[in-house]
Symmetry: C2
Subunit: 286 residues, 2 copies
C-alpha cells in the first residue's frame, strides 16, 4: 500500500517508554490539542535541534501547555537519532489527558510526549537538482492570529488540501488564505525571488513558522541577499523569477513548474542550496 | 480537581471493545483527523440519535473518512444509554491509523471508533429557568467553508477561547469570526430574537451545525415563529430582545446577561423551552 516515497515507521515511544498505546482520554485525540516537531536526522545527529525545541517551547507558551522537561525531549531525540544514518524523528507533545468532557482545562494536565522515528524515504536527489512540480490548491486556509505560526495538531486543512490531487508527478500544492494571501504549501514553506529580493509569506495570520524557513532566512541574510517576510499574493507568485519550497526534511526544493507552467531554477535558489548543504548533510546544532 | 459541573468519565470502548488504549499512530492524535458527536441520553434513551448519526455520516463524506458500519455505532450508543437515567455519550470517529508520516491518506485507512460515557453533571435547572451569563470572547474564529458546520476534532480555537475566562459565574463566551460575524459560543450555538423573528448564525464559513440548533429551528418553524439562518454581527446581538444558547445537553439556556449588561428572558425563548421539554426529558428518536 505504501509508496516508496512514504516515510515508514520504525519505532515509537510514549512518555519515554517503548509503547504502542496512548490513552483514549488524551486531548490531542479529542481536539488536536497538542504540538509537534519533525526533526530530520542525518549521520546520527538531528538537524537544528535547538530551533525545533525553541519553537516547541514557544508553542507551549502560546497554547498554555505545560510541556514538561525539555531536557528529556532533547535527550530522547538525540538518542533516536544516534543509531541511524538518516531518519525523521517526530515528537508529538499533547496537553495530556482529561477525565471530564469539554474544552476547558484544569491546569493540572500533564503533557503526553510521543516520539516516532520514521525511515528516510527513498530519494535520488532529483527534487533538489531538477526541481519539483506544484499546483495551486483550491482550499483556502482560515486565518487566526492566535494559532498562526504554530506547528499544532489541528491539521484538517492540510489533509483536505493534500486530498485535492493524486498525480504522483505533483509534489506540492501552494495554498492561499481566506483573504487571498499566499501562505505556504501543504507541508512546506514557500519562498519567491524577484526584483524585491527573497521573500516568504508572513505567518502571522496562518501558516507554520518552519524551522527550515527560519534557517533559510538566516542564511540568506548572512549571504547579503535582501530578504523579507512579506504579504504576498497570486500576482507576486505569478511574476516571481524563482520559487522554492522548504521544510525540515527536504531543505530547499526548487519549483520547475507551477500549474503546468515551466519555471526557471535560478541563481539565488542554487546559492542557498549550496550554502545549506553542509548544514543538512553534517548537522551541527546551529 | 474536577468541579461539580464536570462531566466525569464512566466508561470507554475502543472499536466496540472495553479498552483503555488507542494506537499512537491514530491520525486524530497527530492531526485531529476525525469527527465527534455528543449525544445526551435520558431515561435510558439517546436524544435525537438519527440526527447525530446523520451529521456524522455527512461529516465523513465531507472529510473523505470511511466511517465503517453506522449500525454498529447506533447500537453501541443505544447500549451505553440503556442502563442509565442521565448521561452523555461521546463518539469519536477518526480516519484511523497511519504507518507512514504526512498528511496524505492512502484510502486504505480503517476508522477508529471510540465511545465514552460521561456522568450527567450536577445541575439544579437554574440555568434553564434563570438564564446564564455570557461574555464576548476576544478570539476570532478562522473561516473555512471546507470545514464549516462539521463537528470535527480540530478544536484548538475553542480551547483557547475557553481559556479566556475563569470566573465560574460566566457560562459561555460568544465568538465572532475573523470577518466580524457572530458565530456561536465555545460549546453552544446561539440564537437571537428581535423584530426579524428568530435567527441564528449561518454555519457556512465557520461554526458547528449543532443538532439542538437544528431541532430548535425545526420546532420554531413548526410553531409558526419566523426563523432564519442569517449573517449576524455585533449590532444584531446588541439590539436583540432575547438571546439563548443551545447544545445537545443543555437544550436552551437563556442569556440573562452579556458582558455584565442584564438581558430579559423573553416569550419566544420560554415558548421554545416549553415545546422542547418533552423531547429532552422523554427522548424518542425524532
Amino acid at each position: 500500500v505504501l509508496p516508496e516515497s512514504a516515510e515508514r515507521l520504525e519505532c515509537v515511544r510514549v512518555n519515554g517508554r517503548p509503547d504502542q498505546q496512548v490513552s483514549p482520554f488524551d486531548r490531542a485525540l479529542h481536539f488536536g490539542d497538542g504540538l509537534f516537531e519533525t526533526v530530520a536526522c542525518r549521520r546520527g545527529r538531528p538537524r537544528f535541534l535547538s530551533l525545533h525545541l525553541e519553537r516547541l517551547r514557544w508553542g507551549c507558551g502560546r497554547l498554555g501547555i505545560d510541556g514538561g522537561d525539555f531536557d528529556d525531549i532533547r535527550l530522547e531525540i538525540l538518542a533516536l537519532a544516534r543509531e541511524i544514518d538518516a531518519a525523521i524523528v517526530k515528537v508529538v507533545l499533547t496537553r495530556g489527558t482529561a477525565l471530564a468532557r469539554g474544552y476547558g482545562v484544569t491546569g493540572q494536565e500533564k503533557a503526553t510526549r510521543i516520539t516516532f522515528r520514521y525511515a528516510w524515504p527513498k530519494e535520488t536527489g532529483a527534487e533538489s537538482q531538477e526541481g519539483v512540480q506544484a499546483r495551486t490548491g483550491s482550499l483556502r486556509l482560515g486565518e487566526n492570529p492566535a494559532l498562526a505560526g504554530l506547528k499544532h495538531c489541528n491539521r484538517l486543512e492540510q489533509i483536505l488540501a493534500r486530498r485535492e490531487w493524486t498525480d504522483p508527478g505533483i509534489t506540492e500544492a501552494l495554498l492561499f488564505s481566506s483573504s487571498g494571501k499566499l501562505v505556504s504549501g501543504t507541508m512546506s514553506n514557500v519562498f519567491i525571488v524577484d526584483s524585491a529580493g527573497l521573500r516568504t509569506p508572513r505567518v502571522d495570520q496562518c501558516g507554520v513558522a518552519g524551522v527550515m524557513r527560519r534557517v533559510v532566512l538566516r542564511e540568506a541574510a548572512g549571504a547579503g541577499i535582501p530578504v523579507r517576510e512579506d504579504v504576498l499574493d497570486a500576482g507576486d507568485l505569478q511574476k516571481a523569477d524563482e520559487v522554492f519550497l522548504t521544510n525540515a526534511r527536504i531543505g530547499i526544493w526548487p519549483l520547475r513548474a507551477l500549474d503546468g507552467r515551466a519555471m526557471r531554477i535560478g541563481p539565488v535558489t542554487r546559492q542557498l542550496q549550496a550554502s545549506l548543504r553542509p548544514l543538512l548533510e553534517e548537522p551541527v546544532d546551529a
